[in-house]
Symmetry: D2
Subunit: 508 residues, 4 copies
C-alpha cells in the first residue's frame, strides 16, 4: 500500500476521483470514498454536491472555496475545497452539512510544485448558461495549452492554471443543445489521458479517454451509482463493484438510470502499467486485476529472473515493496522479515532541521530493524528507483545496522522516460535510469547486486503475453518511451521528454 | 468624519478606489491611500500591483487571493485581497513585499449582505489574451445583469457575482486592437455610476461615467501620478492635488505621461450630493469643494431655516454630525458641546449579547455625557435619518441622561428613495421618510421638534443655485426620486424602487 | 475621549477593571462594562465568572486561557482571556455561553513591552485550598519583587510575571480562617497603587489602596452590585452610580448584601491627577468629578493663564484635546474648529511601510484639515507632551497645510517624572520635559508659542485649593516628583526614577 | 509497529520522553527523538531547552506555551508545547530556532479525555528559587492526589491537573541544599510508576522508579548524552545505545560527566510486559530485549500452544500484529499474507459521518484484501482484545470479503484488569475479558476459534522462566491483577479497580 506523501524519490500520481448519484448521504459517502483514495493525492481535496431542492440561501453564481451554495430553480451546487487530507477537510459533520444533496463528486490531488494553490483544487466548477458544471479529473491533457491559447484569444477568461478548466470552457462555448452533447463536443477536442466525473443539469457523468490510461470503475450501493478510480473506495462504503468503465466510454447517470455512450472511434487501449507497480492500493482491483496479486506475481517473476541463492532473508522497503517481497520470499523459499520499520507519523511540514544534521534525512520515515538484519545477507525489494536518493540512504542505513550483503530487486523495469499522462515524474534528465546503466546504478546506490524485473516478466505477472508482442496492452511510456497519445503541447520542443508539469510553466 | 462600520441606520457607500503609477513603493503607498479611504468601505480590501520586471517566480495565470505573482514577458501582476480593514490586511511589510512593482491599484469595499465573499473582493483581475487586466470600481452598473446574461449565453464564465466583472469580460471579447480601445469599447456598453481605476499592458487608466456620479481625483507625488476617490488619500502620502477627473473623462497614464480622452458624448453631470452630506471625509475635497466647509454651511443654513431660540447648547451625533453642529452653533450663537461620547473600539464582531439585554444596543457606540446635558434644552444635529432606529435610541438616551428638551436638526432633506448608483440603501419601504411625514417622524423618534434642511438650503450650502433651477447639478435621486441614469436591469419590475443589491439576488 | 492605542507619545494606563454580583447575565454585562472601559487598555482582556451551580463538566483545577470550567461542590469558575479588544474576544454569544453564573469580574490590560503574553492577562486565578480565587488589578505594586523573592524561597511557584500574582500567593499561604481575613492579610503586606476586584468563596470583593490612587466606583443594576474603574461602564449597562469606593475601603458583596470594611489605618488620599488630564473617558465621573467638565475648566484656566490674542481659531489634537479646546475657545471668544481629522480605523498591526516612506508616520492617524487652517493663526490644544515626537509631527503637518502661526497649549504641567503607580510612562530620561526647559521644548516642536497650564491652575480646575497648599489631594508624582507611596523594590537603586515595568525586568 | 492514534479498542500508553545533554542542536535532535517516539503519544508534545548563555531577551519567569525564553544569570530556559504531532509542532526551523541551547528534554503525550488541555502538556516547568526546573514524565503516580491535597493546604498553587506537577512543588518546598538533593527528596515522597527526565541548574537528570515499570535508556551521540524511552530514538539521530537506566537509578549528567545514584532501597523490578506486546516500536530494544524478536517469539509460542491445522494462511491485524503473525506463519509452515490493508491517512478529526452510515466505522482504517482471503481459512493474529469492538468489526469484514473460516490468535493473555501505572486502560468493567470467558468472547466476536497465548508462553517468549516462578520479573498487573506498587490514592475506594485517569476527576 502506498502512502509516500512528500517522498521525493517516487513517482506521484496526480489524483483520485469519486462520484455518487442517488443517495441522501452523497457528500458523506464521497468523503469516505476520497479517504480510501487518499494515497492517490494528499496535497488537496474537494467535493461538489448537487441538490435538486432549492434551499433558502441561494445564489446564481460560481462556487466558493469556502462553502456557498450555488444554484437556480433547477437545483443547487455546494462546494468545499481545501489543502491537505480528506480527514482534515471533510472529517467533521459540520462541513458535510454544508454539502446537501443526492449527487456528489470529489477529487484528491497531488499538487505539483508551482501550482499548489487553492484555485487549482478540483472539482472545477463553472456557472454556465444552463446552470452549474462541475468536473473532477484524473490524468493530464496533452493539448490543453494550445486549446487554452485559442479560447483566451476568443475572450474566455480562465480562473486557474489547471488543464481541466479547458474542458469547462469548451462546454460553455459549445453550440450543442443538450449538456451531454456539449460535453461530448468538448472531450472530442481534447487529447491526453483523462478519467472524468461530472455533475451537470442533474446528471452525473463518467468518462475514460479512448486509450483508457487512467482507471475508473462503476459500483452500486443499493440503488445509488458510484464511480471511483479504484475499487477500494467501493469497499469503504460497502458498495458493490459492477464493472470498469471502458476506454472511450461515457456513462450518463440520471433519474432514468445509466446510459452508456461511445462517442469516440475505437482505438487500442493503453492502461497505465504503473498503477499495478506502485500507485493503486493493494486491496484494489484496477482494470479488473487484483493489485496485490499482481505485485506478488511480480515478486515471483523477480525471484525467477534474479535469484539470490545465498541470501538469508527478504526485506521489503515499506509499504509499497511488501507484496512483491512476500512473493519473492515465497518463490525463493527465503524468510520474509520487516527489516525496515516505517514511521507513519509524518505530518505536513517536517522540515528537516539545519544543515549540520541534514544527513539524518530518510530516517524520518524509515529505520533499520537492526536485530533482524545484523550479519545477514538481505534481499531488499522495492518498486522503483527514480532519482536514487532514497535507495542510497536506505542501503547505507542497512549496512550501518550490520547487514552483511544487500541485494536489491526492483519490481519494474528501469524508468527512463517522463510521463505526460498524469503522473508527476521528474524530467528525464533527472531519472537515474536515463543517465546510468544498471551496473552504474548498482555501484551508485551501493548494493552487492541489483536487478530489475524484465518488461516481459512484468507483462507475464500481469497475465499478458508480454511487450514484445505486436499488441502491447499497457501504457508503459515511462519504461519504453512509446508515447501512444499525441503530445501536441510539446511538439517542436527540442527536448520533447522535458517535463512540463502545468500550463503555466509550459508558457515560460 | 465618518466611520460607522456596521451602523445599520446609515447609508453605506460601496467603495473607495486608489491607484498610483510610477514609483517603486506603489503597493505601500496604495495601502496608505486605502487606509485614508477606509471610511468608504470596511468589509474588505485588495491591491493589485504590476511590475515591468519579470521575477523568478512567474505564472501566466489568474491571480490568487493568496499572493501569487502572475505575468508574462511584458510584466507581472501580484495581488492580495482580504476581508477586514486595510491595516489588518496590508499592515505588514511582508505582505507589501509580495506586491512588487511601480504601478498599483486598490479598493475598499462595503460588502452588501449576500455577496460578502472573497471572490467578490476587488480589484477584479482577468488573464486576457494581451495579458492581465485589473480593475477597481466605485459605483454600481445598472445594466450589468442583462449584459451578464448575454455574455454567459455566449460562453463566458463568471468568477464572481460582482457587476464589475462584466467590464472584464467585455474587454476580453472586444475585437478592438489596443487595450485602450478595448476598454473604451467595454465601458461604452455599460450603464450606471462608475469611477474605475485599471491596470493593463503597463498603463494605469482612470475613468468616471458620463454623469460623474462618483468622485475621482488626480494627484501627483513627485513624478508619480495618483488617482483617488478623495483627496484625503493624497494628504496621507504627501501627494499634491492636481484636479478632478471630469465626468466622462478617461485618463491613460503610461511611460509617455498622461493622456486625456473623452470617449462619451457630453451629458449633464450629476455628482452624488450625499458625498457632501455623509460619505466623504471632512478633510477631503470632492468635486472641488471642501467637505468640512460644506457641512458647516449646511449647519448654518439649518440654523437659519430652523432656529431653536430657547436652546441651551448644540450637540452633534458623533462623528458625522460634528461639522454641521459647529456651523449651527456658530450661526445660532449657542454653545457647542460633546453631549454624546462615541466609543470607537468596536471590533469586527460585537454581537449584542442575548435577548434579555438587547435593549442596550446603541450604547455600544454612544453614551450620553450626562454632566453636559442634564436639565438642558439640546439641539441635536445629525446628518440623516434612514430607518430611524438609531435616532430613537439616541434621543431616548439623552432624555434618560436628563435632557429637558431635544430638538433634532438633520443636515439633508428626507431620504425617501433607494440609490441604484453605488450606495447601499434599504429598499424604499424601509426608509422612514418614505412612510411618514415629518411630524410623524418627530413623534416616532420622540423629539420636541424636528427639522430637515431644505433642498434649496442644501444646494445653497454647496454654492449652487438650488434644485428648483432648470439645471440640477447633483445626483439627488435618494432625495428627489429623479433617476437620471437608466435603470435597465429593473425595467418592467413592478416596483422599480425595490432594492437590488447584487446580480445574484436580481436573478432570484 | 481617549483611544490612543499604540500611541507611543502618550502615557498609557495599565488597565480597567469591572465586576458584577447577582445577575444571570454576569459575563455578558461584564463584557459590556469592559467594552466601555476599553480606552484603559486595548492589548488584552479577560473575564472570570462564577456559578453557584455545579455543571456537568467540572474539574477541580486551575483555569485555562481557553475556556474550561473549574470548580467544586461550592461553585464553578469559568474563564476566558485573549489578546486584543473586548469586542474581538467577547463579542460572540458562544463565548459568553462558556462563562455561566451570577458573578463575574473582568479586566482590560495595556500590555507593557516584555510581558505581553497570555499568561499575564488578568483576571489572575488560583485554585487554593478553599477553592478558586480570581483577582483583577488596576495599579502597580511597589514591593512585589521583594515579596515574590521571599515567597519563591518558601517554595511558591509563580505562573506569571505579573505583580498581582503576589497577592494570590499571599492569600494561599495566609493562616487566617476566612477568605476575607486571608485577603486582608494579603493586601496588608503589599505596597503600591491598587484597585482590585475579587471573586472568592461566592463573595465579590472590591478594594482601593489606602492612598486611593486608582479609581473604583460602586453601582447598582436592579439588585445587582457593580464595581467599575469608571462610571461610563455603569451607563453602558444602565446601572446607577451609587458612590466611589473610598481609599483604603474593602467592600464585600455576597448573599447578605454589601459590607464595608476599613482594614487600613487612615492616610491622606492621593487620587491620580492624570485620570482627569488624559486617562478617563470624558463621559465618566471619577472620584466624583465629571472628567469632561474638568477638562473644559482646564481649558478655561489655560485661556486665562496663556491667552493668544491674535489667534484665528482653536484646534484640538483629537480626541483627547477636544474638551479643553472647547473650554479654551469659549473662554477666549475664539472659533472652535476641527483643524485636524483623526482616522479611527487603525487596526492592530499597521506596521509603517519601509524606510523610504517612514516620514509619513503620524498621518496614519491624523490629517490636517487644510481648508480650515490655511493662512490662519491656530491655537493648538493637547493634553500632554511626553517624548515630543507626535507633537513635532502634528505641528509640521499643520504648517505644511498652510497654518500661518501655531500656538500650542498643554492642559497639564510638564511631565518630568516616571510613574510607578500603574501608568506605563517612559523612563524619566526619555521625558522631554525632564531634559528641556519650556523655551527649549517650544523650539524643539517648532511652535510660535508654547504654554502649559500651571500646577495651581490645574488644581483650581479640579476645584481644589492648589498644590502649594499643605495638603495636596492628588497623586501628581509625574508632575512634581513627590512619590507618596514607598518605592520599596527600587530602594538602593542609583537612579530611582529609572522605569521598572515588570518583575522580570526588575530582576535583570 | 504501533500507531493506533484514536483507536478506542486498544490500550494507550501515556507518553514518550527524551533528553539530550551537550550538543548545540539539542532542540532539533529532541524533535527528531520525539518523532521516533511518536507512537507513544500523538495528542500533544513539548520541548524545553536550556542555554547556558544568557541571550538579550530574558525574563526570570515561568515558561510560555508560546515561546518565551526564561532565565537568569545561570542560563535560560525556552519552551514550546502544542497539541498534535511532533512534525506539526516542531517541523519548522523557525520553531527550533526559538529553543536555543545545549540541553533539551521533550515529551509526547497521549491525552486522556478530560485533561487534554495545553497547560497539562509536558515538560512541566517551574521557576523555583534556584532557577528553572523542567520535567518530563512517563508513567503515573499513585499517591499524587493525596500529596497535592497536602501541598495546597500549605499554600502551593497548582497550574495543571497533571500528577507530575506534584514533583515540581515538592522540589520547590524541599529544604535540601542542592538541586539534586531536592529532587531526591521529592521523588522519595511519591509512589507509582515513573521514568523522568529533568533539567535543573545546568544538569540533565534521568530516573526510573524503584520498580522500573517504564523504560528509559541511555545513549551517546559523540560526547553528548541521550536519554530516551526507547532505542528507536537513538537510531533516528545516529546515537549509540549505551545501557538501560536501572530501576531505582538516578543519573545526573553535567559538565563533569555522568554520575549514577541509587537513592532508593533495592526492590524487585517490574518492567511493564505490555511494552513488548503492544506499546514499543518493533525496531526498539526496551529493557534490553528486541521488541520485534519478542513479538515473533510470541507468535511461535502461539503456534505451538494453539495450532490451526487446516488453515490456508496467516493474516495480521496491521500494524501491531505483523511480527507475531510472521512468527506464527513460520512456525506453522503457513503462508503469510496481507489480508487486511490499513489506511494510514487518518488525520486528527475524522468524525464518522451521521448515524445512518455509522456502521462503516472501522473501515476508515482497515479494509479486507478480498482477493487474498476469499474462500480461505484464515488465522488472524492480533495483539490484544480490549473492548472487543474492533475485533468484531474486523472479523465481520473478513467474512463479508469471503473468508471461509476465521481463527483468531491473540499474542497476550486476556487483559482483565485496569492499569494504574501509566497506561490509559478502560475501567475493568469495560474490559471484555473481565466480563466473559474465552468461549464467550469467541462467540461474541464471531470467530471459529479463539486462543490467547498463555502467561507462561508469554514469559517464555521473553526468555524468562515464567510467571508461576517465585520471582515474576514483569509488571503484568493488567493480566494478573497483581499490583506491586501501592495504590494510595485509591485506598478505601470500594472498587479499587475503578479507573481514575486524572487528579481532577479523582476529586469529583
Amino acid at each position: 500500500m502506498r502512502n509516500d506523501a512528500h517522498d521525493d524519490d517516487h513517482f506521484h500520481d496526480e489524483c483520485g476521483i469519486f462520484g455518487i448519484y442517488g443517495t441522501t448521504d452523497a457528500a458523506a459517502l464521497t468523503a469516505l470514498g476520497l479517504h480510501a483514495l487518499q494515497h492517490r493525492g494528499q496535497e488537496a481535496c474537494g467535493i461538489v454536491a448537487w441538490d435538486d431542492k432549492v434551499p433558502a440561501r441561494v445564489q446564481s453564481s460560481a462556487p466558493e472555496d469556502i462553502e456557498d451554495p450555488i444554484g437556480n430553480a433547477n437545483g443547487v451546487f455546494s462546494a468545499h475545497r481545501g489543502m491537505g487530507l480528506v480527514s482534515d477537510n471533510f472529517g467533521s459533520q459540520s462541513v458535510i452539512d454544508l454539502l446537501p444533496g443526492t449527487v456528489a463528486i470529489g477529487h484528491n490531488r497531488y499538487a505539483t510544485c508551482g501550482a499548489s494553490m487553492l484555485r487549482n483544487v478540483q472539482p472545477i466548477f463553472g456557472d454556465l448558461s444552463f446552470g452549474g458544471f462541475a468536473v473532477a479529473h484524473n490524468g493530464n491533457l496533452t493539448n490543453a495549452y494550445k486549446m487554452r491559447e485559442k479560447l483566451v484569444l476568443d475572450g474566455s477568461i480562465f480562473q486557474s492554471t489547471s488543464d481541466t478548466e479547458v474542458i469547462v470552457h469548451l462546454v460553455a462555448r459549445s453550440r450543442e443543445k443538450t449538456v451531454i452533447d456539449r460535453f461530448v463536443d468538448a472531450i472530442r477536442q481534447v487529447e491526453g489521458a483523462y478519467s472524468l466525473v461530472v455533475i451537470a443539469e442533474g446528471n452525473m457523468m463518467g468518462v475514460r479517454d479512448p486509450f483508457g490510461v487512467r482507471p475508473l470503475s462503476l459500483g452500486k450501493l443499493g440503488d445509488a451509482y458510484v464511480l471511483s478510480s479504484e475499487t477500494c473506495a467501493f469497499d469503504i462504503i460497502g458498495a458493490e463493484f459492477v464493472r470498469d468503465i471502458e476506454p472511450g466510454e461515457l456513462v450518463v447517470i440520471n433519474a432514468s438510470g445509466l446510459t452508456s455512450l461511445k462517442p469516440f472511434e475505437k482505438t487500442q487501449s493503453r492502461f497505465c502499467i504503473f498503477e499495478y507497480v506502485y500507485f493503486a492500493r493493494p486491496d484494489s482491483k484496477v482494470d479488473n486485476r487484483s493489485v496485490y496479486e499482481a505485485r506478488k506475481r511480480i515478486g515471483v517473476e523477480l525471484a525467477a529472473e534474479a535469484p539470490c541463492a545465498n541470501a538469508d532473508l527478504v526485506v521489503p522497503v515499506p509499504d509499497s515493496g511488501v507484496p512483491s517481497a512476500i512473493g519473492y520470499a515465497e518463490a525463493a523459499g527465503l524468510p520474509f522479515d520487516l527489516g525496515i520499520i516505517r514511521n507513519h507519523y509524518v505530518g505536513r511540514t517536517f522540515i528537516e532541521p539545519g544543515d549540520q544534521i541534514r544527513h539524518l534525512g530518510v530516517k524520518l520515515k524509515h529505520n533499520a530493524n537492526a536485530e533482524v538484519i545484523r550479519g545477514k545477507s538481505v534481499v531488499l525489494v522495492d518498486d522503483s528507483i527514480v532519482r536514487g536518493t532514497t535507495s542510497r540512504k536506505i542501503v547505507s542505513m542497512l549496512r550501518a545496522a550490520g547487514a552483511r550483503e544487500v541485494h536489491m530487486r526492483i519490481s519494474c523495469p528501469p524508468t527512463k522516460y517522463s510521463c505526460f499522462y498524469g503522473i508527476d515524474t521528474p524530467t528525464s534528465d533527472e531519472l537515474l535510469a536515463n543517465k546510468m546503466s544498471v551496473p552504474e546504478i548498482q555501484k551508485y546506490i551501493g548494493v552487492d547486486s541489483l536487478a530489475y524485473v524484465s518488461m516481459d516478466g512484468l507483462y507475464r505477472a500481469l497475465r499478458q503475453p508480454g511487450r514484445n508482442n505486436e499488441t502491447p496492452q499497457f501504457c508503459d511510456a515511462c519504461l519504453s518511451g512509446d508515447y501512444a497519445i499525441p503530445l501536441t503541447d510539446f511538439e517542436g520542443r527540442e527536448d520533447r521528454t522535458r517535463k512540463v508539469s502545468s500550463l503555466g510553466e509550459a508558457a515560460a
